[in-house]
């Protein structure tokens, strides 16, 4: 192979089997979807700025909440993590590329088609899916708009893409590690992705199964979820959340890995408790399979069921607490400097913990009857997903961007972006706790007068947060176009194989495996 470089023009991107190219494609696709999903969110927040109906009709509002959720979960967060895995996993374990490069190309290139199909349903008669991202039956079967069939096929394609991506990551990690790179020497980002990939293989087929059942109920006369034919709509919720709960960990575990890479670098200390981090991640992954019904406390479960799912859910706080403790202890008495990736990582630790605490409140079954389907739930999962998954991804971009493109980003601009995002996010989501506890239901286009003040604050925050992400795009493009040249190690005390290769990373790396001590 030698100095064999990338092909010229568009065919480079269409036919590429290079893990770095595919990682770039994933990341740009994810960013595009992040902006699209963000626009949907801003439509929601604009409508909720005042009580009453101003901008959109309730039917369209429901399409916006649904599409915002679906696009952010399946279009923004998941592909961003797969993109990071593509870029980083081979470089971190000293592999020349992913184990299955052609399948890698395919798993990316089916994604744009899935989202084209799903987003195009906004323009068809009857409108886009309007049943919420959790698509509960019978809203998504008996009462669904005709476009639900497009949605089902889009989910099938996304599922296939995720499964292929995960198989690739597992095959790479299991077979292509450099000599001496034992499992317990792997960087934590690799470990968390390894476990995430298993979660994906376990639950994406279940998601494919549940949408297939919907398809059969809608078009082939079966009654999986129709009580009239002997089925049960509650069954839908059980199957959905059997997928859905591991899915929320799929969206957070790789972010755990990212901050576990970044915090030691900027604390200038090795990570505290590496082994316990690995075991905690594995425990969280295992527990994620036995807590799904805490999303359904109000469906009428027997007391024993409520208690089991309540306790199992609270048990998750133990391994998560281990992780938070380890990050804090890594920083303790470290020689800390506050570059942009570190700022995002520290905000991650603090704000994710707030989201974790509100999760514990929701886990208390008797209290959940009060909080269920209110804005408190919205506040909770946005606190774990925005400063959790999204801040994790942004921290990763700032941390590894100099390695990818060879240029340092502008630290002042990066810090400005961080503070704008940090303030915007808290102004948006913190008031939602209050309106939620006061009883404002989620997924409604209009609300009672007493919620107006907090909703106005949230809407202002949302537009600030949205605008600062356009600024983020500007920073990234500016860095790619030019800037101060990055050194090979980039950061003063960064450790790991990816920092031993030149910046920018050559098109082919580790064609001869490195020796790991």
């Amino acid at each position: 192979m030698g100095d064999h470089g990338p092909a010229k023009g568009l065919s480079r991107w269409l036919f590429t089997t290079n893990h770095k190219d595919i990682g770039t494609l994933y990341l740009w696709f994810s960013f595009a979807m992040f902006l699209v999903g963000g626009i949907f969110a801003l439509v929601i927040r604009a409508e909720l700025f005042e009580p009453g109906l101003q901008i959109v009709q309730p039917e369209f509002f429901n399409q916006m909440t649904t599409m915002h959720g679906l696009v952010m979960v399946f279009g923004a967060v998941m592909p961003a993590f797969v993109g990071l895995a593509n870029w980083l996993v081979p470089m971190m374990i000293g592999a020349p590329d992913m184990a299955l490069p052609r399948m890698n190309n395919w798993s990316f290139w089916i994604l744009p088609f899935a989202f084209f199909m799903m987003l195009s349903s906004l323009f068809v008669e009857g409108g886009a899916p309007n049943f919420g991202w959790t698509f509960y039956a019978p809203l998504s079967t008996t009462y669904a708009p005709p476009s639900v069939t497009f949605f089902i096929f889009a989910v099938h394609i996304m599922g296939a893409s995720s499964i292929m991506g995960s198989i690739n990551i597992i095959a790479t990690i299991m077979n292509l590690r450099a000599p001496g790179m034992t499992y317990m020497k792997m960087p934590l980002f690799v470990w968390t992705w390894f476990i995430t990939a298993y979660l994906l293989i376990a639950v994406m087929p279940v998601l494919a199964g549940v949408v297939t059942m919907m398809l059969m109920d809608i078009h082939f006369g079966t009654s999986f979820f129709s009580a009239a034919g002997g089925g049960d709509p509650v069954l839908f919720q059980h199957i959905f959340w059997f997928f859905g709960h591991p899915e929320v960990y799929i969206m957070i575990l790789p972010a755990f890995g990212i901050v576990s890479q970044i915090i030691p670098t900027f604390s200038r200390k090795p990570l505290f408790g590496y082994d316990s981090m690995v075991y905690a991640t594995a425990s969280i992954a295992f527990l994620s399979f036995i807590v799904w019904a805490h999303h359904m406390f109000t469906v009428g479960m027997p007391l024993a069921g409520e208690l089991f799912f309540m306790w199992a859910t609270m048990l998750i706080a133990v391994p998560t607490g281990v992780k938070v403790f380890n990050w804090v202890t890594t920083m303790f008495r470290g020689s800390i400097s506050f570059e942009t990736p570190m700022l995002f990582s520290i905000a991650f630790v603090i704000l994710f913990t707030i989201g974790g605490f509100s999760g514990l409140m929701l886990a208390i079954a008797p209290a959940d009857f009060q909080y269920h389907d209110t804005y408190f739930v919205v506040a909770h999962f946005h606190y774990v997903l925005v400063p959790g998954a999204i801040f994790g991804i942004m921290a990763a971009v700032y941390y590894w961007l100099p390695k990818w493109c060879g240029n340092m980003y502008d630290e002042t601009l990066g810090k400005t972006h961080f503070w704008l995002s940090f303030v915007g996010l808290n102004v948006t989501f913190f008031p939602m706790h209050f309106v939620g506890l006061a009883g404002m239901p989620r997924r409604i286009p209009d609300y009672a007068l007493q919620f107006a003040d907090f909703n106005q604050i949230a809407s202002v925050g949302a537009f600030l947060f949205g605008a600062s992400q356009v600024f983020f795009m500007f920073i990234v493009i500016k860095t790619i176009m030019g800037g101060k040249k990055a050194t090979d190690q980039v950061w003063e005390s960064a450790e790991g194989l990816e920092w031993t290769i030149p910046s920018p990373a050559p098109y082919h790396t580790f064609t001869t495996p490195p020796e790991v001590k």
Binding site: A99, L100, I163, S166, I167, I170, A171, M174, N175, I201, A202, V203, M204, P205, V206, L207, A208, G209, V210, M213, G221, F224, A227, A228, G229, G230, D232, V234, L235, H238, I239, F242, G300, M301, P302, G305
Partner: protein
Amino acid sequence: MESSVKKTVRNALFATVGMFAFGFALVPIYDVFCDITGLNGKTSDSPYTAVDVAVDTSRNITVQFVATNNENMPWEFKPAVSSMVVHPGEAVSTEFFVRNPKPVSMVAQAVPSVVPFKAAEYFHKTECFCFNQQPLDGRSETLMPLRFIVDVDLPKDVKTITLAYTLFDVTESFKTAAVDASAEAKQAVGTI
């Protein structure tokens, strides 16, 4: 491709297919789980064969009947009596009244649910209109029979059992099924 990679991929694909199948297996698992435990108020959907036991006259159980129409179901639907007092082990019969106000014949399916859930497995129906789909001509009415036995093993703390029926309009799916059946019959005739 290296054989070790092949092996990993093969195992991962097996796991994927297995989990897809597991998703579908959750449907019968859910039914069986609910049947065994009586969770969800599910009662058996086939007739119970009465066994000879002594009627426990020392206990009085109030059985309440609730009849609800699923949305868009135009039939009038109500129990003949709204509640009755029975002894465990005693075979009891009652009726539900239905009237189809529409000019066309329709088919209905009643779906039962028992509260409290833990009483579901002790509530045996020897005959129930809910075991079958119920056709009814336009502008006509009928009484639908229900015979049941409350099990003598019913937990002591249960004093009241509520049996709720929801009536669904299944005319459309009944028609489709009938068309399918007649098409199959014709095909069968054709092959002969």
